[in-house]
Structures are given as C-alpha cells and as structure tokens.
Amino acid sequence: MLKLEHFQNFTDVHSDWLWLIVALPLLGAVLNGLLTLLSSRKVLSVKPWVYAAIGCGAAISSFVVSWEMFSQFKQNPNNPWVQELFNWIESGTFHVAFNLELNSLSGVMIVFVTFLASLIHLYSAGYMKGDEGFGRYFSYLNLFLFSMLMLVLAQDLLVLFLGWEGVGFCSYLLIGFWFEDVANAEAGKKAIILNRIGDAGFIAGLLMVFALAGTFNFNDLLGHKQVFTEVTATIICFCFFFGAAGKSAQIPLYVWLPDAMAGPTPVSALIHAATMVTAGVYLVARLHFLYVLAPWASTIIAIIGVLTALFAASIALVQNDIKKILAYSTISQLGYMFLGVGVTSYESGIFHLITHGFFKACLFLAAGSVIHALSGEQDIRKMGGLLKHIPLTSVGFLFGWIAITGIVPTLGGFFSKDEILWKALATPNSIFPFLPQILYFGGLVAAFLTAFYMTRLVILVFFGKYRGEHDVFEHIHESPAIMTWPVFLLGLLSLFIGWIGVPAAIGGADELGKFLDPLFHLSTLESNALSRSLEPTLMAVSWLVACLGVGLAWYAYGIKSAVSKNLAQWLGGLKKVLDGKYFVDEFYQATVVRFAKTIARWVSGWLIEGLLVNRLVELSIQGITRLSGAAKQVQLGFVRVYLVYIAAGAALLIYLLVH
C-alpha cells in the first residue's frame, strides 16, 4: 500500500515537468527571435553559430526530456499523465483548461516529433549556412516545434486547435522563407488559404461539439459520447475530416503541398513530410471515439485516402523535380495513413505515420543534400550517376528508397504498409460490403506505383551517366558532415523503425500495436473471418507487387533507357494528363478561384465602392445639408427675435416647473 502511494507521488512529480517539453522550443524561438531583431537593428552582432546552438539546443533538450518522460511513462502506460497549467477560458459553464496530457498516443508522438526535429535542426545548421535569415529560420523552426508539441500534447480540442493553427502559420512563414521571390510568397499564400478552407470545417466541427457536449476536453467528450447520435457524429466527423484534409493534403485540398516545396528543404522534411502534414491523421486518431460512431465518415475517409494515394502516386510518375516527386509521394503516403484510420485501424495509421516520418524525412534530407551538391539543381533529368560522387548521401537516399518501396521484406515501411493493407481487407464495411476488396486492391496499386516512381527517381539521380551542365559537374561535392550524418542516421533508422510493430501473424511482438491498443480497442472494428493466417500471404503479395514495380522501373529507366521514351509515346494522351497533374490546379483556377474573384470584385466594386461609399456617404451628406438648411431658418439674425426665443424658452421652463 505504502509502495503504491509512493509510486503515485513519483509519477505526479514527473508530470509536473511536462510543460518543459513544450516550453523549451518556445524559449528557443523567443531567444532567436529577439537576437535576430537586435542584430538587425545593429544593437549587437550575433555570430551564426549562436542561432544554431540555441535552435538545436532547444530541439535536442526537448527530445531528451520527452524521451526521459516517455520511458518513465511506458512502465505504466494505462495511467495518462496530466499537467494542469492554467485556466485559459472561464465563462459561465464553459471552461477551457490549458492542460497537457501524456498518454500512449501523445507519448509516441512527442518522442517521434522531437527526435526528427532534433536531427533536422542539426541538418539545417549545415544547409542554411551563410543564409541571411539564419536566425529567423531557427526561430521559425523552433516555433513550429513548439506548436506541433502543443498540438500533440493538448488535452482539449481548443488547445489542439491553437497548436493546429500555430503549425499552419509556421508552415506559411517557412514556405515563404525566401519571400523576395514572388513565387515562394505565392506558394505560402496558397498553403495558408487552402488550410483556412479546411479550418472552416474544423471550426464548424468545434462549434457543433460545443453545442452538443458543452466541452472540448477529450476525456469529458469520451465520457459523454452518448450525446452524439449517429447523424450528428457523422456531420461532426466530416467537418473535422475536412480540416484534416486541408492540413494533411488530401483530396480535394491537396494542391498546396507540391507548391510548399518552395521552402528550404529541411522544412519540407520536417513540416511537409514528417510531422505537420500528419496532424490530420493524428486528429482523426485522437477523435477515434467519435469516428467509431460514424461509419459513413470513416468509410469516406478510407475511400478518399485510397483515392489520394492512387492519384498522387500517378502524378509522381511523370514529375521531373526531385522535391515535387517526394511531395506527391508524401500526399500518396498520407492517403495510406487515412486509409488505415478510415478502416478504424488507428494503430496501423499511427504506425505508418511513424515509419513514413522517418523514411520521408531521410529522403527529403538526402534530396536536399543532392540539391546542395549540384548547386541548386532540382531537375532529375539533369542529374545521374551521383552515387560515385556523393556516396554518403546516396547511401542514405537508397536506405530511404528501400524503406518506402518495401522491396526488402521486414525493412522500413514494409510492415506498416502491410498492416494497413491487411486491415483494409479484413475490416468489414457495413455500408458497402464489397468495399474492403476495392480498398485493398487500390492500396496495392498505389504500392506498385510507389515502387515504380521511387525507382525511377533513384535510377535517374544516382545511376547511369551525368546529364547536367559541365560547370555544375565541376563543383559536385559531398555535403558537410553535419548534413550527411543526420541523413545517414535517419536512413539506417528508417530501415529498422518498422521493427517496433512486427505483426503477430509472423511471430512478431507488435510492440507499438499492443502499446496503443488500450487506447483504441473500443473504437476499432473487429476483423472479419479473414484470419491472421492470411496475413503472411498478403505480405508476400505486396512484396511481389513492390518487386514488380521496382523491376519494371529498373528495366524501363535503367537497363533499357530507350524504353522510357517509348513509354511516353505509348501513353500518349494519358502522359499529357499526368504531366498536367490532372489539371486540378487549372480546374480550381477556372471554377473556385474565378468564382471567388467574381464575388470579391462584386463586393468591393458594387457593394463597398458603389453602394456604401458612393451612395450611402453621398446620401448622408445630402441629408445633413438639408437638415441644417431647415434648422437655419430659425436664425433670422435679429437680436430681438433671439430674445423672443429666450423669453419663450424661459416661459416654457417656468410652466414646466410650476406644473
């Protein structure tokens, strides 16, 4: 008994320091921001390494604290640690407490986020070296980390929303980091506008949750979930998914992510591949108790997920910008995650989120290193044969390639992808009985396309002969150690990260699944008769598909490079459609943007300028002139008359006083 009490106190003491995880990056952001401001005002001169030390130090110390807390927490994962910081909003019966909660989901997320962020901060110190906005960059990056951690640790939907907006804002700042170039600023604007459209859904969801439950606290909502009927839960879930689709770049709001590649490459790795864009998946997983009430919403999420996975992967087939390919690949993999959470298998969604975070961050960082080596060249048609020249970067990239394609069984994203595919097939759908097979098949095709375009990328960049300009070739150099080692380390880790969730079907421990299961098991639909014995077969199938994709691409682009030219001819019109990215941007431009612009012009031209300014102001001027004209009549200019007024007024006053 005594021991138990002791233990309880022990955990409480530790949860008191939860704020540190969030506060350290904020401190870094503020410090760097102040230093940047002071040095730009010429108050003091700051050496670049100071910014880097503060930025990296904040991220790494936050990681150390997270790791320490998580390993303490892991011993008793069914007791969430809660730290009550302060009452944010207190109005009548409406309370929003600013609480941080460490549960098994947020615990996994903070370690994941802070670890990747630490490596990417280190890498940035090399990548951004010599940039004018060095301090500003680290300040933004730390601010992003702060917002992301707040999003993850929030115990309350409104606090989560604060972090949600924070990461969106930092994403905007960092996409447009080199804002002197108008295209970059435009890309930032596009990102934030599309996110705003999604956030309209988020806010609508928030309002409906408040109207029905009167609280935003996740635990209270979980306790009061009987206030949600199937219809209301479905509407709310749709609203939240719309927000998630904006943040996580799903159909129909995905168009901002490829443009977001205008930002510095480490930013693309951290924000637009590994962490921020997965916030939507996290949101759906966090609201699992609502989504299980809304089978329609979950079904639509799964369908949109698989469609996005296919759609983006097919666009990635023909892209020529190394970062754009990775961006479409990210969209496609996010679709996978949504497929996972859409079939209510939240563990598999989170599992893929983590493995994808590792290998995609690795791929982006390696791509950044390639771009760095080629003096800013991003077109893969002007690359080739880089394996010999930048070996460490290339090996890192190849590790990432192994992880994303799943070409080597058990390594990288092999298990997580397979888990999602298996769950997609094994979870029965109450609305469309035949849907699981379609989802599975769609996922498989997306896996094939992924293997194909990634292999194409690898071959065009690292193998064959160099096809670029001679000047650039002269300057090819391996990046400094501070860049290559994070790439290499991430590559290695991304190979083995999948081992945290080796499926039980092949005798694995499935540690992550078991760890998250207590949180999700009430919300996860039972798998159907397709028993676990089928899972190894499915694994073999998806491995064969990956091999097929890799093999075909290798044949078409590596062994017989002439084939790839014929390929374009065979595809003909389809190639044009793919090159134009299905003309979605043009479609939006012609419909939504034009519609919005017409309305805006009408409002500004007719409503504001015409009606309000011209008519209303004019009318009020005329009215006042007329009124004063009438009032002027009493003023005759004869002193005698004024005296009559005074006398009459006095008489009236006396009359009123007397009566």
């Binding site: 005759l636 200019g637 004869f638 002193v639 005698r640 009559v644």
Partner: protein, 105 residues
C-alpha cells in the same frame, strides 16, 4: 376704503413683473438701439425690485448685496454697450438694430 389696504410684498412683485414685461416688450419691438438698451435697464431694475422684496420678506441681506452688484454691473454694461453703439454707428451710420445682421449673411 378698500384701495387703501396696506402694500404687501405681492404688490411689489406684481410691479416688478409689469416692469419686466414692459422691458421685454421694449427690447423686442423697438428698433432703435438706445431704446433697446433703456428697456434692458428697465428689465434689470425690475429684477432688482424683486430681489429687494424677497430680501425684505426673508430678512436676508443677500438680496441687497445682489442688487448692489447688479447696479454696478449695469453701469459697466451701459458703458460698454454705448461704446459699442458708437462704434456701430461709425460703421453703419445708423442706430437701427435691424441693419446689424451681417453675422447671418
């Protein structure tokens, strides 16, 4: 012998009101500046009369003090007023009040 009844404060007040009304009528109807000023004096003295009456009735010296002030201020006012009239006359060559309305136009 009804009309030989003692003079009460009411009689004084009635006289004061009559004088005041005559003053107002003079100011309002007369166009000549001098007559207007004289009517003003009449109004002031009507007020003085009621002040004194009330002071007597209430046994309070304040009314008397007021009257002294009013008389002295009226002297000053007449002084300034006549000076203004002379200035106006020099400008417009008339003492007709209705001619002085340039502020309105």
């Amino acid at each position: 012998m009804d009309f030989l009844t003692p003079i009460t404060p009411n009689h004084y007040l009635a006289l004061s009101a009559i004088l005041f009304a005559i003053g107002i009528a003079g100011v309002v109807t007369r166009k000549n500046v001098f007559l207007t000023l004289m009517s003003l004096e009449l109004m002031l003295n009507a007020v003085n009369l009621s002040f004194v009456t009330f002071a007597k009735v209430r046994g309070d010296m304040t009314g008397h003090v007021f009257v002294l002030f009013v008389v002295s201020i009226a002297a000053a006012e007449a002084c300034v007023g006549l000076a203004i009239v002379i200035a106006l006359f020099r400008l417009k060559e008339t003492v007709n009040l209705d001619m002085f309305k340039s502020l309105k136009d």
